[in-house]
């Protein structure tokens, strides 16, 4: 499934942006219900959907938009900024010879995106380990509408 998502990175990215736009529009409603109350159910849905589509590891600060929809937290080195120098000549992981390097997939996904600049080139900041297991969608919506961005 992960490979399928990468192969369909372009379409999925458009759908993804659409979902995000809808969620951002729903912000007033979400705020009325209360983000804290929504955290658990939204996270459950998010985990299911992203787990199915991208093998998401639920780090809580999703970057699959930059990775051609390949979840970088599947990298055994947890690299969020591109492939290490140990990738095998056949494109498999340095550490687990039987799995595809998530960053080789990410690059394939990136090449399918229609943007002129590859989002993979954006330098991701150090991960916030506290956010693991929380909803990245809700956090993204709040940061888009300009309210508290990194609050759990």
């Amino acid at each position: 499934m992960r490979s399928w998502s990468v192969r369909h990175a372009r379409g999925l990215t458009t759908i993804y942006a659409g979902v995000e736009a809808i969620l951002v529009k729903l912000h007033p409603l979400l705020r009325r219900i209360g983000y804290a109350r929504l955290e658990k159910p939204v996270f459950a849905v998010e985990k299911l959907a992203k787990g199915f589509l991208f093998d998401s590891q639920s780090c809580g600060q999703c970057v699959v938009g930059s990775t051609g929809l390949s979840c970088p937290m599947n990298c055994p080195k947890k690299l969020r900024n591109g492939p290490c120098g140990g990738v095998r000549m056949n494109g498999k992981c340095e550490i687990y010879a039987d799995i595809d390097c998530v960053w080789v997939l990410a690059w394939e996904g990136n090449k399918r995106l229609k943007s002129s600049e590859y989002p993979i080139q954006f330098v991701q900041p150090a991960i916030d380990n506290r956010l693991a297991g929380s909803s990245a969608w809700l956090r993204e919506v709040r940061s888009k509408v300009g309210s508290v961005s990194n609050e759990i």
């Binding site: 591109g82 290490c84 120098g85 340095e94 960053w103 330098v123 900041p125 150090a126 991960i127």
Partner: protein
């Protein structure tokens, strides 16, 4: 090699020139347009400082800086910060390697402050091999950061005078920031872009993985020049002598990220003295590297052949008569 603003005490760091990041000799040589030579010191499995001094002395007069590896190949050895501490006392220009495998952001920032305080002027930020590759495969891999976020963090410490947390530093680490590059690992067409990304994250110099495939390396450098990256970063190409055809085959099958083409293995196998041929291949590669536009030096990783580095540099002639600073140099003047 002496600069016109050498400090009174030989081996002390130099004044920081405008537009320079560090007081180090490596940055000076590179920014002055020199073809730089760095080499990797073999870290001892020992607590004896003499072993470190002896191993460093092998390079005296032939290298502009010495790389102290940080648990390379995920094997346990004396720490990079320990070796740097010993060798900066003698005035050596050090490149402290920092791998993300064993330490989190708290430990790395502390080590960099300590290292800079001891006179380390160059930091090479690496992801690091997985623990599976080493002698302690049961260890917990840390990977709190990656090489890019480490570069970014250290640049913030140096230029913005603050920890990653935002807390202020009273005096920043004046370090020249480096990163690694492997032109030969998939995805090959992404590698030049990855280099550009490392520059974006803060890399000022690059030391590459072993380059045995000169043709493929030239193609890589073509792409690097097309992107203009060669004007934004100093690139030191990784080289080293291979001991034999058998060892070359073992390395390419077992060491992550090392690509050795068949032509090199065949050349070794055909030689009467394979070890000599390995040295000659290394000398040839260094000379070829010097001809490639955008290559600013070489980084010699002479695993178990460190005693031949001086000879290799001498035979290559790339220093062109220049003698890099070393502790004995002070006595000769």
């Amino acid at each position: 090699m002496k600069f016109d603003d050498e400090p009174l005490i030989s081996g002390e760091n130099l004044p920081i020139r405008p537009q320079h990041a560090s007081p180090g000799r490596l940055e000076r040589v590179l920014r002055a347009g020199g073809f730089a030579v760095t080499a990797e010191i073999a870290p001892p499995d020992s607590a004896d400082p003499l072993e470190v001094y002896e191993r460093a002395a092998l390079f005296d007069g032939y290298v502009d800086a010495i790389n102290a590896t940080d648990g390379s190949g995920a094997h346990c050895h004396m720490s990079s910060v320990g070796m740097c501490s010993l060798l900066t006392r003698r005035g050596y220009a050090m490149v402290m390697q920092v791998s993300c495998r064993d330490r989190n952001r708290i430990a790395i920032q502390g080590d960099v402050l300590g290292a800079a305080a001891m006179g380390v002027s160059n930091i090479l930020c690496l992801t690091g091999d997985g623990v599976q590759a080493g002698d302690h495969p049961e260890a917990k891999p840390v990977f709190d950061l990656d090489s890019m976020s480490t570069l970014n963090m250290l640049r913030g410490m140096r230029d913005d005078h603050q920890f990653l947390s935002g807390r202020q530093l009273t005096s920043p680490p004046r370090v020249f920031l480096g990163a690694a590059a492997n032109p030969f690992a998939p995805p090959l067409d992404y590698r030049p872009l990855r280099l550009a990304k490392k520059i974006e994250a803060g890399a000022q110099f690059i030391q590459t993985q072993y380059c045995f495939d000169i043709e493929r390396f030239r193609n890589y450098m073509d792409a690097v020049r097309d992107a203009g990256s060669h004007e934004k970063v100093f690139i030191l190409a990784g080289v080293g002598p291979l001991a034999s055809a058998r060892s070359a085959e073992w390395i390419r099958n077992n060491v992550p990220g090392v690509h050795i083409p068949d032509t090199v293995v065949r050349r070794l196998r055909a030689a009467d003295d394979q070890k000599e041929e390995g040295v000659q291949i290394c000398v040839d590669l260094i000379q070829e590297m010097q001809e490639i536009e955008g290559v600013h030096g070489v980084h010699i990783m002479a695993f178990r052949q460190e005693h031949r580095v001086a000879e290799i540099v001498e035979r290559s002639g790339v220093l062109g008569g220049r003698v890099p600073w070393h502790p004995g140099a002070a006595l000769n003047n």
